[in-house]
């Protein structure tokens, strides 16, 4: 019998559609009976769907440091020619 802990461990494979028919059926039966796991899987799915939309932009100091390094390297390269 699949436990809640077992089910959570297989949440990624469930989302990716990587499970055998037998395992899928076992998970579906569990989800039909367990509202905690239903809630977890639904919220987990939404969280994973969110991740491609997360973006952390560099601040202006970070951008300036990269541009300065690129400028320095270009200057060195020009000197070496």
């Amino acid at each position: 019998m699949l436990t809640c802990r077992d089910l959570i461990a297989q949440a990624d494979a469930l989302l990716a559609g990587d499970l055998s028919l037998r395992k899928r059926l076992s998970i579906r039966m569990h989800l039909a009976l367990c509202h905690h796991c239903r809630k977890y899987v639904a919220q987990y799915r939404r969280m994973v769907g969110l991740l491609p939309h997360v973006c952390d932009h560099a601040n202006e100091d970070e951008v300036a440091a990269v541009l300065e390094r690129v400028r320095q390297e270009a200057a060195e390269e020009a000197k070496g020619r």
Binding site: A13, P52, D56
Partner: protein, 210 residues
């Protein structure tokens, strides 16, 4: 001058004009590329070489990207292209240092372990997120800032796999090949990262605290 993006605004695919500006060497276009992708690239480098060397790896990768920008045809997403440069740079650096890639999936703790009873049932069941989903949360600056702190706190190798799989959409097989990991280990790292993130979102939902 174009308005700067807000911290959580997702970079859009390059338009033909933006690509042309990049390939022509316009510094504003290159600065925009840096702004959009630098922190994600740091996360990749940290997972491969560790925090101390990551900044240097990414700086070197930017120099290489700048030198070869004229040949970037825009077929791949810029982040995919840049990540490949960072990963090559990290591998070269590790070879020079005669170091093995640091990525492994041994001895990982289980972030959800304490939430289950010995028999496998829930001890601390999931709470209901108050919003329709984290999409609404992401629109809130406070949550966006919190999410970035959460992502930074995820162990570097788990964060690396999360970046490659969930944020860039690479397949598990590709990630395994690129990092020299078995498919099982990639799955374990990804699962742990997602569980940590889930727990942190749940904590924010319940307490408003990051």
């Amino acid at each position: 001058m174009a308005a700067k993006p807000s911290r959580n605004e997702v970079p859009q695919p390059l338009t033909a004009d933006e690509l042309a500006a990049l390939r022509a060497g316009e510094s504003a276009a290159f600065a925009s590329l840096v702004r959009d992708h630098h922190r994600a690239l740091l996360a990749v480098a940290r997972g491969m070489v560790g925090a101390n060397d990551a900044e240097e790896i990414v700086q070197c990768a930017w120099v290489k990207a700048y030198r070869s920008i004229a040949s970037f045809e825009g077929r791949a997403q810029p982040r995919t292209w840049l990540t490949t440069i960072v990963m090559n740079e990290a591998r070269m650096y590790l070879r020079k240092q005669a170091r093995e890639p640091r990525v492994h999936a041994e001895n990982l703790d289980d972030p959800m372990g304490e939430r289950f009873r010995a028999g496998g049932g829930w001890r601390a069941p999931p709470s209901t997120w108050s919003h329709d989903g984290p999409e609404e949360l992401l629109m809130q600056a406070q949550f966006g800032d919190c999410l970035h702190r959460i992502l930074e706190a995820i162990p570097a190798q788990q964060r690396l796999v999360l970046e490659l799989r969930d944020m860039q959409g690479r397949s598990l097989d590709t990630i395994g090949r690129e990092l020299g990991l078995s498919a099982v280990n990639v799955r374990v790292l990804l699962h742990r990262a997602r569980q940590r993130l889930y727990q942190a979102i749940e904590r924010f939902e319940a307490t408003g605290q990051c």
